[in-house]
Amino acid sequence: MKNKEPIILAVVVFFSLVTYYLVEPYAHHVMHKHVDSENFAYADLPEVTKTGDAVSGQELIMNAGCAGCHSIEAAGMPAPMDAVMAAQSYGVNPPDLSNAGAIYDAKFLSSLIKNPAHALKVEHKFDEAKGQMHPMVAFYGMGGDIDQEIADMVAYLQSIAVKSEEVTPAMAFENACGRCHAVGYENWTQLGTKPKFKHEKDSLAYDIKVMEYQDSLKAYMGKLPPDLSMYIRSRNEHFLSTFIENPQNHLAGTAMPRVGVTAESAEKVIEHLKDAGDPKRHERAAVGMNVMIYIVIFAIFALLWKKQVWRDLH
């Protein structure tokens, strides 16, 4: 009798794969628009033409009043007010600038200093003509060549920052995303990592501070930005990367600003989200390999057993 099993197997595999293709890759391709990466080039922003001088940059930053809102811990400048009060004043707590030079793209920083709403891609929310001012005041120059001055300021920020390879996934996330987004599974709130409290009363007092901060944030953003704990599973790496690069590409009109991270920083942000939502991925790879080896050996023994038993049956 001719053995029909190979052809039967081929038929079963064929129909299974067709079904899989249609309901997974094809259906998702139709349902979700594809956004290509722009390689974090920020091509819409003007190129930096001047070479900055960190020493004069430091002076400019002092005189331009940056520290009136931003802390620069690395230079010994503390925040002028606490995060809750800062959020009440500006909507969101302005970031500490110590490592801005390492986390954010230089071209983006230059454009940001000159015209925040434009660089952040939130001009639909902040239209100067209608009197909707972005809480970060644009830098109008200190009397010299404004492009040179901005290049100097960026050079200063780069000079005080840690080296880009020293930026950890948590640092990148906390600075670029963590003032709006909580990551509950990493114990991260918009005010920072929630400390361990001995007394429940203190813990509740901290929670209330977070809620007060969130109230300001809600008013500023229109809704509370989501907790990102499981975003690596509910979205995917490509989505997150292209979303961070330019939120408007995915969700036109969103209040979320383009934060201007470098490609490396974006990778670190995503790494941090993996640590939050998929922390067992390395274990999964290791265990997976062992299980596959075991199960292949099992299948070989099962095949040999079948051959032995069936020898007498033909």
Binding site: G277, P279, K280, R284, G288, I295, V296, W305, K306, D312
Partner: protein, 404 residues
């Protein structure tokens, strides 16, 4: 009372009380299986193994899962996925097995249809099998509610809404099922109970019935051959193992079962570790939010074909056809009027009926997931009509089938 003698061995002791030798013969060594069957006949064992994986992984998950709307999502995605040792493994095994079990069920079902294994005394095998399909569907749906993500919540909303019966507006029935106006704590609690107790009990009972139903008519074979099992079994026991048309279930057929299970498990664990996304919808990793409807709501892939029979029509007609699709498979043994119990390829028009049914259900499955826009809506509409028409035609085309 039976007469008991002093036991000569542990086996003898058990034998006097439990008739273990007799049981072993009935269940294993003298449970006769035809030899002319292919690997598709091992799908029953594959299903048993998959069900066992579901039960074992489910037990581990049950130790940490918290069935409250406040904590369900957290207990699954934080406690089980992050804190519990190998919790992620049990969850991925459970999620992937829940999806793959339907793939095997469909293969098992279409094998039965192709080889006519629901005919001539095998009707109860088919009917109990379809009841198992219904029980597994309810089990899958109730389990899908438990992580309390966005898809849990909205799938629960959509499916329970079906019970309003369209123009009947039986909203009271929907509220009674939910225990609330919307899916909430009462809803989660009862679906939790169904998922971990009542439905698994029903499934285990039905598996017993399904196996029992197989006993008297025996297993079908791939050539439509009528085998005299008593004569062939005697031949086998007299030593002509090669000449007999039957073999023992154990170890003869079981060794082949295990070989197929081995290959299947390679595929299964590949999915568990490297390609689990299809079984764990990304949308369900967003916590349930009654104020935020997901852009696309769709059931898991194994419900898509019947969902698409509901979707292209007006609500009342859609519900009627949906109900039709749910029960019609059960009636297959009675709608097929042909006297032939042979593979479909020897049954003329029925062969065409079979392949069109299979292909059309795949089309329905695809259209059920795709958004309801052109050209998918039109394709889904005609596919649904073809599905219904095929079942209406089945008695007619099989009535005129020639005896082979």
């Amino acid at each position: 009372m039976a007469h008991f003698t002093k036991a000569t061995s542990v086996k003898d002791w058990l034998n006097q009380r439990l008739a273990v030798e007799k049981v072993e013969k009935v269940m294993m060594s003298e449970y006769w299986i035809p030899k002319n069957i292919n690997f598709l006949w091992a799908m029953g064992m594959v299903l048993v193994v998959t069900f066992a994986l579901l039960v074992v992984s489910g037990i581990f998950l049950l130790m940490y899962y918290v069935p409250t709307t406040a904590d369900a999502f957290y207990s699954v995605n934080y406690t089980i996925m992050r804190e519990v040792d190998f919790g992620w493994l049990w969850r991925h095994v459970h999620g992937v097995a829940a999806s793959v079990v339907f793939l095997i069920i469909y293969i098992h079902m279409f094998t039965g249809i192709y080889y006519g294994s629901y005919k001539k005394g095998r009707e109860m095998i088919w009917i109990s099998g379809m009841l198992l399909f219904v029980a597994f569907s309810a089990e899958a749906f109730s389990g899908y509610m438990l992580p309390w993500g966005q898809m849990s919540y909205w799938a629960g909303m959509v499916i329970t809404n079906l019970f309003s019966g369209g123009s009947l507006h039986a909203d009271g029935l929907v509220e009674w099922i939910r225990g609330d106006y919307v899916p909430a704590q009462a809803f989660l609690g009862r679906f939790f109970m169904l998922h971990v107790l009542l439905l698994p009990l029903a499934i285990m009972g039905l598996i017993g019935l399904h196996f029992g139903a197989l006993r008297i008519p025996h297993v079908n074979n791939q050539d439509g051959e009528e085998i005299d099992f008593d004569a062939e079994a005697k031949k086998y026991l007299d030593g002509d193992k090669a000449g007999s048309k039957v073999m023992r279930f154990a170890n003869d057929f079981m060794s082949k079962d295990m070989m197929v299970v081995g290959v299947y498990l390679i595929f299964f664990f590949y999915l568990v570790f490297y390609n689990y996304g299809f079984a764990m919808d990304p949308v369900n990793f967003d916590p349930a939010d009654g104020l935020k409807t997901p852009a696309h709501i769709y059931p898991e892939w194994y419900f898509l074909w019947s969902y698409e029979i509901l979707r292209p029509f007006s609500i009342d007609l859609g519900l009627i056809l949906f109900a039709f699709a749910q029960v019609i498979f059960v009636l297959l043994p009675f709608l097929d009027r042909s006297p032939n119990t042979v593979p479909a390829n020897r049954r003329g028009l029925f062969a065409i009926w079979f392949w069109v049914m299979l292909a059309n259900m795949i089309v329905l499955t695809a259209m059920g997931k795709l958004p309801p826009e052109e050209p998918f809506s039109t394709i889904g509409f005609y596919s649904a009509i073809i599905f219904v028409a095929q079942w209406l035609l089945l008695p007619i085309i099989t009535m005129f089938e020639k005896k082979v």
